[in-house]
């Protein structure tokens, strides 16, 4: 009989260099814990995150993807996070269609001063992913088996 493996979600967090990555650092230096399932990728701005990166993560078996940027109006590049907001609204509505539940993706605004918010957001997000369970792996139709 196969022993059921304990579910360990894979969660990718994209953080912009100026606000959210610094927020994550602050969470660290304030010793505010959040689950180890979250792995952070540093990007210069949240608008650097191509929707394809998120699809790629789901293709490779990610259970959740969260994208963190500066608060609207505070972007280091003045307008980057507005693009993020629009692009992700669009992508998330299509993910639903692909069979990836709404809760598996999220955009959050975390400033460099919001270490507490960063850890709260991550705790909530991971809890949500545990609730949703393992994700279906997206297949690439171009690669026929």
């Amino acid at each position: 009989m196969q022993v059921e493996k304990q579910f360990k979600p894979k969660i990718v967090a994209f953080c912009c260099n100026w606000c959210s990555y610094a927020g994550a650092d602050l969470a660290g230096s304030s010793r505010l814990s959040y689950p180890a399932d979250v792995k952070i990728i540093r990007v210069p701005c949240s608008c650097r995150v191509n929707p394809l990166f998120i699809l790629r993560a789901f293709e490779r078996g990610a259970d959740g993807v969260i994208l963190c940027g500066c608060h609207p109006g505070d972007c280091h590049y003045s307008t980057g996070n507005y693009y993020t907001r629009r692009r992700m609204t669009m992508l998330f509505s299509m993910l639903d269609y692909l069979g990836v539940e709404k809760g598996r993706t999220r955009v959050e605004w975390v400033s460099a001063a919001e270490g507490v918010k960063f850890s709260t957001v991550m705790n909530n997000f991971v809890a949500k992913i545990y609730e949703l369970g393992e994700n279906v792996k997206l297949g690439d139709l171009r690669c026929k088996k």
Partner: protein
């Protein structure tokens, strides 16, 4: 094939307590591409850096991964280390296993596993890193100041004092701007001309400053350090270097119907004129629309009386082209047009005036010689009513949504000056809120009320209409909840201010961003308030937002400092992590250009060799001196031609793959 070295830091016990650093180093040693892996107590120490340098030399490493604290802390340190060992500094990647791993986890097993994943992600990225070389560009050691008001003059003086050449372009025949039209300045009530004109003279006499008055910026090309500007010198019909400013021509000129712009059209001037007595340069100018000689080829009196022989009726606009390293925008403001505010009868009644017009009436050099009189009949007024917020804080589309900031203070100033000079005149002020933040500002306003008995009424005015010799103001007193029908002699409107239209024109030439109100956007509202997001463009005065004279002067000085910081460099070193367009993939759609906040993307027609097919295509070209590396264009590009160096699509995808493995 890359040869990567992995260096795991203990950070004393900071990392080592929750992450089994030896195991991380051991696991990483077996990863493909890794030829060397070790751990050490303090990688950032001199000894730790020596380990890295030795390993680079000994194992001929092509890239390194340092598993340590946040890259925001020590990325620069390790890049320098790599550089000292002869490795390109951009071949370094940091795995953040302190702030984002050891400090937030308690379980050692969990921490170690996460650290390994983070190290693998960094390894996956560094495998795809390419050496990057920071670009360099030259700096032309000359600054351009657009606008010759107090903001522009102050910026120019500060730049010139530091020893750099600076040119001022002013569209009017004289520098001085709005401040030269003011009578007194708040809160000290010192005379505006007394403090401004010495500065104007300083600017004219400073050998580092060149004034281009009656000139406009026609075209701007280039980028930070290397702007190419075309300036139109409008025909003055008077030789600027010959005219002595004696004014004999003005006395003889028979055409006296032109509206005196300096006095806001309150009186008339001759066709050949010097805007005001202290004008800089003190040179006459001919208004071609009024000059009888230019219009009908008759007259020519001014030429006859001019002892210096300065008149030249055949003068044409001239163009000059110059190179500049930095540009200061000091384009200033204008009061808004009141044509949408019929309720105040501004157009119909000469006794309804704007505050700026009142400045001229109160000024000793103004149309009335400084005597406060009704413009309709020259009589002395006994009652004056001020109306605040005319067009300010208005979201109905008639006015401006913002607070014009200066009106509360100048209205208090006017009220006080009138009460001081003419104690028989009753002064009323209709206000919504009195906003007086600033040093000695509220005290100033209170003085108007408490010492000069100015009647402040909380409420707005519904309409103003003439009745006989008088004006009637229908307003409301909100505190008494009463409607007021008030007979008065003069009404003064505190008109909202708006940026001068030049700002939009020049901003679009420079692709500097501008807000919905046409104020030029600052690079950061708090931390970079005098710079535009477009590198090399600096902001001074009201073109950035409403402000009074002290603030304008402070900002002008700040802008000058930023200019000096730029001009003092011989070479500009650019951030190498910038966007790059793949010419073979680019289809010239312009979408990247539209999202770029820095105007860093342009288009060129280039001869492309696409797999043997040679053709000319319109392709995107990134200006590396302007690009700040946000990556907005990379995602927008429909053909995937744009990529960001240092954070390429492949690199980020490799990180995603490593994390999801």
């Amino acid at each position: 094939m890359q040869r990567i070295g992995v260096f795991v830091c203990w950070c004393g016990s900071n990392i080592a307590a929750t992450v089994d650093v030896e195991r991380v180093a051991q696991v990483m040693k077996n990863e493909p591409g890794v030829v060397f892996s070790t751990d050490y107590q303090y990688m950032c120490s001199e000894a730790g850096q020596a380990i890295i340098r030795n390993a680079i030399a000994e194992h001929k490493l092509t890239g390194i991964v340092v598993c340590s604290c946040s890259p925001r802390m020590h990325e620069a340190t390790f890049r320098k280390t790599a550089q000292r060992a002869g490795l390109n500094p951009y071949m370094v990647e940091i795995a953040n296993i302190r702030e984002q791993c050891s400090w937030i986890h308690k379980d050692k097993e969990e921490g170690t596993e996460k650290a390994i994943v983070l190290a693998r992600a960094a390894l996956a990225k560094v495998m795809l890193n390419a050496p990057l070389i920071a670009g360099q560009s030259s700096v032309t050691k000359r600054a351009l100041v657009i606008g010759g008001g107090i903001a522009g003059i102050q910026s120019a003086l500060d730049i010139a004092d530091a020893g750099y050449e600076v040119d001022i372009v002013e569209k009017e025949p004289t520098i001085g701007g709005k401040m030269s039209k003011l009578d007194k300045t708040f809160p000290t009530l010192d005379c505006s001309a007394c403090i401004l004109t010495p500065k104007m003279v300083d600017a004219a006499q400073n050998e580092k400053i060149t004034l281009y008055t009656y000139s406009e910026v026609e075209e701007v090309k280039g980028f930070v350090g290397n702007f190419n500007v075309k300036i139109r010198r409008k025909a003055r019909y008077v030789k600027e270097d010959v005219c002595t400013g004696c004014g004999a021509c003005m006395q003889k000129c028979p055409s006296k119907k032109g509206l005196n712009e300096f006095n806001l059209g309150l009186n008339k001037r001759t066709a050949i004129y010097i805007p005001f007595a202290q004008a800089i340069p003190n040179v006459a100018v001919i208004d071609a629309t009024q000059c009888i000689k230019i219009k009908n080829n008759k007259c020519g009196l001014c030429d006859t009386v001019c002892a210096a022989k300065a008149i030249d009726y055949n003068q044409q606009d001239e163009f000059i082209e110059r190179e500049y390293g930095a540009i200061v925008m000091a384009t200033g403001f204008n009061p808004i047009k009141l044509d949408k505010f019929n309720e105040y009868s501004y157009a119909e009644c000469p006794d309804v005036i704007t505050s700026l017009e009142l400045e001229r009436i109160m000024n000793a050099a103004g149309p009335t010689g400084g005597k406060l009189v009704k413009m309709s009949n020259g009589e002395h007024p006994h009652d004056i009513t001020f109306i605040q917020c005319v067009g300010s804080r208005d979201i109905s589309g008639r006015g401006k949504c913002y607070c014009s900031k200066i009106c509360c203070m100048y209205t208090a100033k006017h009220a006080m000056l009138i009460r001081d000079k003419y104690p028989d005149v009753n002064v009323h002020v209709f206000y919504i809120d009195v906003r007086t933040p600033g040093k000695n500002f509220d005290e100033f306003y209170r003085r108007a009320v408490e010492e000069y008995s100015v009647d402040y009424i909380k409420g707005q005015v519904g309409k103003v209409y003439p009745e006989g010799d008088h004006l009637v103001v229908q307003g409301v007193d909100m505190l008494a909840n009463e409607q007021i029908i008030h007979k008065t002699d003069m009404v003064v409107l505190a008109t909202a201010i708006e940026p001068d239209p030049t700002a939009r024109k020049i901003a679009s030439m420079l692709t500097a961003s501008i807000d919905t109100n046409d104020f030029i956007t600052e690079a950061h509202p708090k931390l970079r308030p005098v710079e535009s997001p477009t590198a090399g463009i600096f902001l001074s005065g009201v073109c950035q937002g409403p402000k009074d004279i002290p603030e304008t002067v402070a900002q002008a000085g700040a802008a000058a400092v930023k200019v000096l910081g730029l001009l003092s460099k011989d070479k500009l070193v650019t951030n190498p992590c910038v966007s790059q367009s793949n010419e073979l993939l680019c289809n010239g759609c312009s979408m990247c250009q539209n999202v770029c906040p820095y105007g860093a993307i342009g288009y060129e027609d280039k001869l492309i060799n696409d797999h043997g097919i040679r053709e000319t295509r319109r392709v995107a070209v990134v200006n590396e001196a302007l690009c700040q590396g946000c990556g907005a264009c990379t995602v927008t590009c429909p053909s995937g031609a744009m990529d960001l160096k240092g954070f390429t699509n492949k690199q980020i995808m490799a990180e995603v793959d490593a994390i999801c493995k």
